[in-house]
Symmetry: C2
Subunit: 203 residues, 2 copies
Amino acid sequence: MLRPVTTSPEPASDAAQGKNGRAIRSDAQRNHDRLVVAAREVFALQGSDASMEAIALQAGVGAGTLYRHFPKRIDLVEAVYQNDVDELLIAAEKAVANHAPWDALVDWLDAFLRYSLGKRVFLTELRESFEKNPQLRLSSRERVEQSFTLVLENAQRAGVARADIDGSDLMLLVGGMCTGPTLGRAQGERLLAMVLDGLRVAS
Amino acid sequence: MLRPVTTSPEPASDAAQGKNGRAIRSDAQRNHDRLVVAAREVFALQGSDASMEAIALQAGVGAGTLYRHFPKRIDLVEAVYQNDVDELLIAAEKAVANHAPWDALVDWLDAFLRYSLGKRVFLTELRESFEKNPQLRLSSRERVEQSFTLVLENAQRAGVARADIDGSDLMLLVGGMCTGPTLGRAQGERLLAMVLDGLRVAS
DNA sequence: CTATATACGGAGAGTGCCTCCGCATTGCAA
DNA sequence: TTGCAATGCGGAGGCACTCTCCGTATATAG
């Protein structure tokens, strides 16, 4: 069998309750966690076009089980990257709290760039699923946008960033660039420097 | 029958020769043109996720015929947008010839933005097919990059644009932004203005 | 221990890209 | 005009993928 030997790295909020007050069955919880772990491994190994079947196989469950836990492909992707997105938002809050407004913006955009170089699977899936279903509410997308908005508005209030764009504009620009299949580290930094020059208020 | 009544708007370089000196068969030429016309219509009507089958149906040919003329989906997309891409390159050349270097850059990027708002199907397909097959040589992609390079290097030689990025960098940034599913006219112009501010050499 | 809500899992429906190959058509040559 | 390759046609079907349905199995409450 292909059961992963992982020692359950997903704490997965305990004491969860079903809608009837009945506790979540332990096998369901176990399979949920296994699926997230398996998805992380398979995405890392096979890239963003890994099939759902491959993930189910790796997790040792059937396709039906996978889809009961994660009705759409994007739901699974969101679960895999949940922690990362949370950290992105936390990083934004910390940057705003600990640095001058402009430096916070620079730092955070740089962090986003570094992040995106590693998690291109996530950004690409996010982009594509939003493209074919724009009215879909993706909590991870909202949190990313929230992060952009936080650091940008902070800099705008301080008068160091141009006021005529907003967080979603900036996410479109930087996120679009970061999902480019050719983006490398050096190129990303060059472009980011240029964007920052355009973003800074003329002095 | 669904035969389109179009009066063959595709001149399609006449006197074409097969590799043996034998002329291209007339039915092949006719089907080729029909397919391009049908693809244009179907893409306009159904968006970028139109199926190849739908296009073949609209053209009144079988799937086999479609794939003989256009082995990959992207080949058909390229054929549909061939003229547009040519015009993009011509516009770049004219801008460089008729305007001051910086103005040429501004004008052409603005033209690219206007273009991309209408032809998002093309840009999106181009991006996706390059993503899943990066070593694929797409002549349209090369011509777009060539256009970016032309206007950018012209401005750089004149010393009015920053020298630390190149045409493919700029294409990544602006092209990425333009394939964003939410991009509107006003938003695009705001972001473009910002990019231009970052691109202009500090004075 | 039993009953029942809950979850499992795999067959298969639906869709889309692309291929294969027997048949039809075309255009050159005699 | 007619014969005959060469060339092209087209749709059945292979393959891969996402997602659903439902009979079967199991965990937990009482």
